[in-house]
């Protein structure tokens, strides 16, 4: 111990006590409220699916690290757990379990290990897997179980549409947004806030996700830049369209509370490895995510665009890092 104290090394000398492990486990902790809410609404399948996802991510990480990369075991740093958890959060609760395992293989094998492991991946592994599954199994990936509080008895699995799905279908068939909003399947704003709406099971409750994110902000695991600029852009950009034609475009609160915007902005886009390093870069990153999300939602073929938006911006991160370098400490602007 003493020997360790006396060691002289290059700066910085002050260590915050943070480690990859600590950061990862606080993210897991921050995801718990949303996890509990989804158990409340979707019941046992959520637990099974999350467990399968996390377990297979860990197994694949272990196998690839040990037998293909032949490196140290990295499963204890928690990154595979987060990937597994985020992947599960992005899936409908009634997805066949073997698809979850395929997703985990893609997340860890293609999304992360193919690039060399944690810290070297270009794209958010969980999102790579989600988009992979969405394109591969469009039917299973878009049949969402209807949320039903755990204490209410009734038919077990009934699938229903997501609010964004209802909106897209309605607009396509020429209804005005106002009449779509009065559709009986459409949840009210309070339900959207609390989580009683169709969707991937981790994205439903805005409140629970916000609680988790505030915890991460206090722990300084994430900074405010990406979530705020992402959410603000979604709000303002969809707000502009709403002001132009309220009968054709939904109002900005709807866009903010439905779909994966909250989960994406708070937990996916803020992934340290795949987001820019400087504050101004992060703001640009969030702005791009928000704009692409709304463009896909309003004009694209898919009802939801958060995962595509974040992946596209992930690809631009090296470019953003080049353009928005952090100011070197002590250097005077010329």
């Amino acid at each position: 111990m003493n020997e360790k104290l006396l060691q002289v090394s290059g700066s910085p000398h002050i260590h915050s006590g943070e480690s990859v492990k600590k950061i990862m486990w606080s993210v897991v902790l921050a995801l718990l409220p949303a996890f509990l809410v989804s158990i409340f609404y979707f019941g046992l399948p959520v637990i099974i699916l999350t467990f399968v996802s996390i377990a297979s991510c860990i197994v694949f990480e272990y196998l690839i690290q040990k037998y293909m990369l032949k490196g140290e075991t990295t499963i204890w740093d928690g990154s595979a757990v987060i990937t597994g958890m985020l992947l599960a959060f992005n899936l409908p609760a009634n997805l066949p379990l073997w698809m979850v395992v395929v997703g985990a293989l893609i997340a860890i094998g293609v999304g992360k290990m193919a690039f060399g492991g944690l810290g070297k991946n270009l794209f958010n592994p969980a999102l790579v897997a989600r988009v992979f599954l969405l394109i591969s199994f469009p039917v299973q990936m878009t049949s969402w179980p209807i949320p039903k509080p755990i204490f209410k008895l009734g038919a077990d699995v009934v699938s229903g549409p997501t609010p964004l799905g209802i909106l897209k279908e309605g607009v396509k068939s020429g209804q005005s947004v106002e009449s779509i909003m009065h559709n009986s399947d459409m949840p009210g704003y309070v339900d959207m806030l609390l989580g009683q709406m169709g969707g991937s099971f981790g994205e439903i409750s805005a409140i629970a996700l916000l609680i988790g994110a505030i915890f991460l902000l206090i722990r300084k695991v994430i900074t405010w830049h990406i979530p705020v600029s992402f959410l603000l852009t979604v709000f303002l950009f969809s707000g502009i369209f709403y002001l132009v034609d309220p009968s054709y475009y939904a109002n900005p609160f709807f866009h903010l509370l439905t779909g994966g915007v909250m989960l994406g902005a708070l937990f996916m886009a803020t992934d340290m490895v795949t987001s820019p390093t400087s504050a101004s870069g992060m703001l640009i990153f969030g702005l791009g995510c928000g704009v692409i999300t709304i463009i896909i939602r309003l004009f694209g073929a898919y009802p939801e665009g958060v995962s595509f938006a974040i992946l596209i911006m992930n690809a631009l991160v090296p470019l953003i890092n080049k353009g928005f370098k952090p100011r070197i400490f002590g250097k005077i602007k010329q």
């Binding site: 395929v102 293609v110 193919a114 992979f132 394109i135 591969s136 199994f137 469009p138």
Partner: protein, 195 residues
Amino acid sequence: MNSKLSILTKGLFKENPTLVLILGMCPSLGVTTSAINGIGMGLATTFVLVMSNVLISFLKNVIPNKVRIPSFIVIIATFVSIIDLLIQGYLPALAESLGLFIPLIVVNCIVLGRAEAFASKNNIFDSLLDGLGMGLGFTFALFLIGFCRELLGSGAILNTKFIEGDGILIFVLAPGAFIVMGFIIAIVNYIQQKK
């Protein structure tokens, strides 16, 4: 004789145009939705490669250096037209599924690359072997990519389905082509490094 054999075999593995030289990416990604498509495309390209290599090698002393690229293109285009019409006439199903990619062999950089790098400098027999080796290497690579994509994407081997419904659809679509190709190239690199 050994050197003749190495001219033939280098295209198959050591200098495989698709998996090692990373040439001709457009058809390799575009038509390899099934193994049969891959073989059809590969053999069509092989025909063009062999014939154009032979003819260019034959004419190499006649073609003026300044206009050699246009001359090569004209020769290649001739053979592409021949194979295009032949496939349309005798294999209409294949022509249907390969579509525009057959005429596009004209601008396939493997064909022009071999003409420029090999046929215009070597004798007729060597050029023939080179074209054959490269063409078969290309066919092999396309077959491999097509086989993997067909197996994963539609759950079939050589058009015989063994599962109900769809496979992992992404492998039939463009992103799947990139993923499969990336992993095959990685495996080939791994094998070559081990040697």
